[in-house]
Amino acid sequence: MNKTFGSGLLRKKMGLPLFPLLLLFYLPLFGIFFKLFQQEGAGAMAGQLKELLGSPSFLRTLGFTISQAALSAVFSLLLALPGAALFSRYDFPFKKLILSLSFISFILPPILVVLAFVQFWGNQGWVNQFIRWIFPQSQGIHILYSGKAIILAHVFYNLPLALRLIYDGWSSLPHSQEEAAYSLGCSPLKTFRKVIFPQLLPSVGSSLLLIFLYCFLSFAIILVLGGGPRFSTLEVEVYQQIKFSNNYLKGGMIALIEMALGMLLMWSYLKIESRRTLGYSQTLRHEDMKPLAGQGKWLLIIYLLFYMFFLAAPLLAMISKAFIIQRGWNGPREFTLTWFAALFTPGHGMLSLKAILTSLKYALGSTLLVLNISLFLGHQMLRKKILFPRFTEMLILMPLGISSVLLALSYLRISMGLSHNSPLKGLLIIGIHCIIALPLAYRSLVQRIHQLPVNLTEAAQSLGAKPWRLFTKIELPLLKPILRTSALFAFALSMGEVNAVLILSQPGDVTIPLAIYRLMGSYNFNGASAMGTLLIFITMAAFILMEKRNHADRI
């Protein structure tokens, strides 16, 4: 049996590892279905389920949910593959930075993506302005508010993630395998087909499933960019049924189907992931990387240009909107800070300042909670006496397969039992944000703990370090970088999360993404862009701070 690093605090009994998850996730979720069962009875639930499965409109929604997620995953993957090939072969400036953009999928709130897309692909967006500038008679392209827009936004969101995952898999394959195939007479294309791709399958499979899962549970993008019932998904349907139609039975049963499918996807993903980590684990040595030259150089430049156009341009379009004012319909455009100033002027302004403070409060609260719980879970899981460790780990990661809308709806029931001004309502949002960020924070922490050399703790123990000292003096300092990354991730996720806030917030409550949502709803795109720019600024500041601290630690 492999020895694990966690040997200090971990060997002490610290209670049930699943207790925090039980409290924050499983009980509320169980509660919502139990309440439904109490109110409606098993017969009504079964009847509703049968009706749903026979309903063409539900099957159409289910079909669209699956097809948009599948198409988004496949396109993300197809666009990521050439990039992963080039990135794993060549060394070039800013490679690390570009790869770290995979964070975008996690830290950029969907509502901001929607906003950026409107500024870039919309009728008055950059793309159409450019087309009309070249061809004045042209009507431009109409992508927004369609299935295409949903897929495009999902690919925008998930391309960096796919690139990162496949790059990780590809760069762990020794370059000598490719060369061995060449020396045996295999052409580059055949080498990819026979040697590389079969070994990339776990990476490809896990990224396909993860992206599929994200798109399957996607909410804000579908709600805004879908533009109508034709492009509704299960997630939006649950929200519509419960929030607007007050049909808890139907909403609950759709949620149940969605949850079952989500958990099945999650289970498959974890299965593939465990295979992926069993394969080659060596990372590409620096000397295996080729310096940029020849044909590869041009291919890489073309790919990077595409990558930047696809990812950076929409965000730039949104940021520029925050700094530009146009006098009249066809008037000149000027640089301005008016939109930012408007956010802080009385009336409007107090709302925005409050939004920033509320967002920060939720983000800091959930970050603290995520760090503590993931450390606790990590240590618990690495104890030897955990019953069914694989199953328990699956239970910890399961929130990844549950939609935040469903989670928020389950919290809504608790919220309704609280008084209007109860401070506990804020804690509920913090709880949801924590549970959304927890699986990934926990996973990266545990992976890091496994990578740490066992002999460090053994050395400390041989020098007389007791469990607590071992934890504070050896384990915790070594885990600092990954804890910072997890903190940033939890912070950014909470700063941008809109689904739970949308469902749980009281009329007076507002956070930054909710303010963006409302400003967009009132067609104040400049104001929304200014608010979005502020959100990016806060998240980037946190990101740079983390990188600086991690860099200082490495030195």
Binding site: E179, A180, Y182, L184, V195
Partner: protein, 346 residues
């Protein structure tokens, strides 16, 4: 000649490799040198994994400088073996054959032949992860041999193995090479391994081909002092005066053998490596104890498989000798040098 490197120049970052040499058919040729001397780079140039900026690489008088690796069909055994982990032993070995669209029946026959050659009969259906280090090495060797390459390249093939497996497998590779009369080029930084296994050795240093010759030639009559020291123990004495074939050193006068013509052995470009101060080489085997008029002192004594290892001193020069006689530390012993060799300093 089978392989020729004609004024080849290859640069990658700060590293520059110059190669101008030829390799004969059917021999075991070793590229020997310290880390970073360019041995693997030379092999990769021949394999087609790198392309030189200048010069030509010829295989049987055919220019292959710009031919892609998959068209050269030269066998290559990688340091990390590069076995395909998703394929079984038989699939790995037959990979090159399937690239040539060889019929399945013929592939099976060749597989059987190769498994016998590398002593792995009955292993065909095993996963490569289930094999030991030595077994994997032999699978990789069989895979490289399968398509009957014109030449086999081995990049530090034994470096990851423990001593006993390493020696056994080294002999195995040598036997296969001799049995098949296959031109084999292997890279190593292990002097003993190079001398034991090869017909011919090229010494490489800082991207330059320093000199080449049979193991005996290079050990006994190297051109450069660097080679002499790199290949084994030896005493290097500065030349104080030289007249005809008589050389004067701090140890006294020595008469060079008649055929000690270093001009004919010169490999290096004189312009880039001017002669600084030449030396003479005395290998420990060339010294006889208990004879002659040179009195040396034994500083320390250790017992080992080669006999007694004596650390000795003569005229402020410390050196190592091996003796079958047990001589106590502190004793004075007479000694005589039977042979010396003149070196160029590098």
């Amino acid at each position: 000649m089978l392989i020729e490197f004609n004024q080849v120049r290859f640069q990658q970052g700060d590293f520059i490799l110059h190669a101008h040499l030829s390799m004969p058919q059917g021999k075991m040729i070793c590229l020997l040198g310290p880390s970073g001397s360019g041995k693997t780079t030379l092999l990769r140039l021949l394999a087609g994994f790198e392309t030189p900026q200048q010069g030509k690489i010829l295989l049987q008088d055919r220019d292959i400088t710009h031919q892609p690796a998959w068209k050269r069909r030269l066998g290559y055994l990688f340091q990390d073996l590069a076995l395909f982990p998703h394929m079984r032993v038989d699939e790995n070995i037959c990979f090159g054959l399937s690239m040539d669209n060889i019929p399945k029946e013929q592939q099976k026959m060749r597989l059987k032949e190769l498994l016998t050659l590398v002593d792995l009969e009955g292993y065909e259906k095993r996963q490569v992860q289930q094999l030991s280090g030595g077994e994997r090495q032999r699978v990789a060797l069989a895979r490289a041999l399968a398509p009957n390459p014109a030449c086999l390249m081995l990049d530090e093939p034994l470096s990851a193995l423990d001593a006993s497996v390493r020696e056994r497998l080294g002999r195995h590779i040598r036997k296969i090479q001799q049995y098949q009369n296959l031109t084999t080029i292997f890279v190593t930084h292990d002097q003993d391994e190079a001398m034991r296994l090869s017909d011919y050795i090229y010494i490489m240093k800082d991207g330059e081909m320093l000199e080449g010759g049979s193991p005996e030639e290079l050990y006994e009559k190297p051109v450069y002092s660097w080679t002499a020291q790199f290949l084994g123990d030896g005493i290097l004495l500065p030349i104080l005066a030289e007249k005809s074939n008589k050389i004067t050193t701090v140890w006294g006068d020595f008469i060079l053998e008649k055929n000690e013509d270093i001009e004919g052995l010169t490999w290096k470009k004189e312009a880039s490596n001017p002669i600084k101060k030449d030396r003479i080489l005395i290998r420990p085997q060339w010294i006889t104890l208990g004879r002659g008029n040179k009195k040396a002192r034994v500083l320390s004594r250790e017992f080992g498989p080669k006999g007694y290892r004596l650390e000795m001193q003569f005229k402020d020069q410390n050196f190592i000798l091996y003796s079958q006689k047990n001589i106590e530390a502190g004793q004075w012993v007479n000694m005589e040098c039977d042979k010396v060799h003149r070196l160029r300093c590098l």
